[in-house]
């Protein structure tokens, strides 16, 4: 059908446009080597960096930035959402449950640019004032400048953005645990917390995994908020800096595409940006596949997700 052809065309064209960038760089496209911003700038001026072709591009700092923010945010969201789901289904008084329902739905509906606005106008300055001291700045000052736009701010806001999905699906999963299992466990003398931990959580695990996959897909695709808040520099935070690494700027893949929107008229830059888009598309497709696979398992438990 026409829609299928359309989507097929989309995938094919993105990869075709991305091919020159990949073919000139080979597999080391994914590797480290030089300042990503320098390379992008050289493409913008249409001149080649010394000794390399004009397509020279090493995307590792971007990949590392994406990895860092996404993984941290998903892990944090996983912990928080599981606890929150347990709270909502087991411990919360009905009044709190009734108010929290619409509130979570509201959080999920807020556009990402508003999260970005709050981040850049309220949270980033706060972090700049209170958590980044002169000493910390000076310790990395010869490589990069620190300010409120960094991995920490980005991760915090990203977590808040993906929480609603995960909480909603986890809550559904916990509610779907057969009451008889829980009651049986309590009858055997196990206290409520352990019941939840051992019985409900294990039963809800497939749903929680599905929720995690969905949340990862959302986090990967988030471009606007991260472009505003994550620092805008293609810098790979150096874990050897310890805690300061959290305060270094980064720029995930989707944010890079967003920020280079105006330069897409230059052919070389366009090829590189499309290459980044191809990588994003491939990972989104893989995540979709993983989500589908985990949803198949969910059908056994009758959980709607």
């Amino acid at each position: 059908m026409a829609v299928l052809a359309f989507i097929g065309a989309m995938v094919v064209t993105v990869f075709v446009k991305a091919w020159p960038s990949f073919s000139h760089n080979g597999l080391s496209w994914f590797g480290p080597g030089g300042d990503v911003d320098e390379q992008l700038r050289a493409m913008q001026r249409d001149i080649a960096l010394s000794g390399h072709s004009i397509y020279y591009f090493r995307a590792w700092p971007l990949l590392w930035g994406t990895l860092l923010t996404t993984v941290l945010a998903v892990l944090l969201a996983l912990a928080i959402s599981t606890l929150a789901a347990i709270f909502l289904t087991e411990f919360a008084p009905p009044a709190i449950r009734r108010t929290l329902d619409p509130v979570i739905r509201l959080l999920a509906a807020v556009p990402s640019v508003i999260y970005g606005l709050i981040g850049i106008e309220a949270i980033a300055p706060w972090i700049n004032e209170h958590l980044i001291s002169s000493h910390r700045k000076a310790s990395v000052g010869y490589v990069v400048q620190l300010n409120g736009n960094n991995v920490a701010t980005a991760t915090l806001i990203l977590t808040v953005m993906i929480l609603p999905i995960m909480v909603a699906i986890s809550t559904n999963a916990f509610l779907a645990v057969p009451a008889s299992w829980r009651e049986g466990s309590v009858a055997l003398g196990v206290n409520r917390w352990r019941t939840i931990w051992r019985v409900s959580l294990r039963t809800a695990r497939p749903a929680i995994i599905a929720a995690t996959v969905l949340a990862t897909a959302r986090a990967l695709g988030e471009a606007v908020m991260l472009a505003m808040v994550a620092g805008g520099r293609g810098f790979a935070p150096n874990l050897l800096d310890g805690l300061t690494a959290l305060f270094e700027p980064a720029r995930p893949l989707a944010a890079t595409i967003f920020q280079n929107a105006e330069g897409l008229t230059i052919p070389v830059l366009a090829h590189t940006v499309y290459a980044i888009g191809a990588v994003l598309l491939a990972s989104a497709a893989m995540l979709s596949l993983a989500a589908w696979a985990s949803k198949q398992r969910l059908k056994r438990y009758g959980v709607r997700a």
């Binding site: 700038r41 913008q44 001026r45 249409d46 002169s134 700045k137 400048q145 300010n147 520099r233």
Partner: protein, 273 residues
Amino acid sequence: MRAHRTLIVSTILALILAIPAAAAGRRLIIDGSTSMLPLVQKLATAYHKAYPHVQAPKIGGGQTAIGIGDAASGRADIGDASRDPIPGVDPKGLVFSKIARDGICIITNSANPLPNLSQETVQEIFTGSIRDWSKVPGASASGPIDLFDRDGASGTQDAFQNIFLGETLRISPSATAESSEGLEVNAVGADKSAIGFVSFAATINGGVHTVNYQGIQCTLRNAKSGQYGGVRNFWMVTKGAPKGAAAKFINWVVKPGNKTVRSIVSSEWIAIH
């Protein structure tokens, strides 16, 4: 289905209506330097007022290199360039038409009113040899210096490097590169330890402090008289000699006796006549 049919019919109608529109008047597409953006926007509005039947040109940003590239490839009718042409780098066959001159000021946050900088200190700060405000005489800020630079596609960065740093020195790679003039002003205005450079026009409402260079204040009068050293040219770039609607616009802008243009340009820039 019925819904489909209505959709198809209305789409066809829309397309039919659009075709004569495609043939009718087009707007000029101009993009490029973000430092020239306010000036060219004012000129475009005045041009439309002077010739009401012509639609005002469409102005975009993207920085100088994008403007030059778009003019060369035909994606834009005119490109704005805030730096002089570079023979080996720019595409061949371009014609640069000068429309104004502009001053570049060094700016710091208003909480740090630095009185003066010599050329040597400017070079040391911007190449990263001096990293801390304690080493800069007259600074009220303390702690590490936050350098703000412009993107590689920027004409202002090129002009700044040529005028203030000279041929060989380059701005420190640890500086934060902003991709437009507005962003640079915002960044310096928001950070107490910041220092950067923008065109004079951006400092008027910017809420930042302009630093004297070599003892001379960065004002329009000093730039016009030639006392202030940091002055650069604004160009409009076309592929080959300007033709058609683009030629009309550029000729209107550079015409010697044009009072409207002169009053607009002289407000925050330097007129060439």
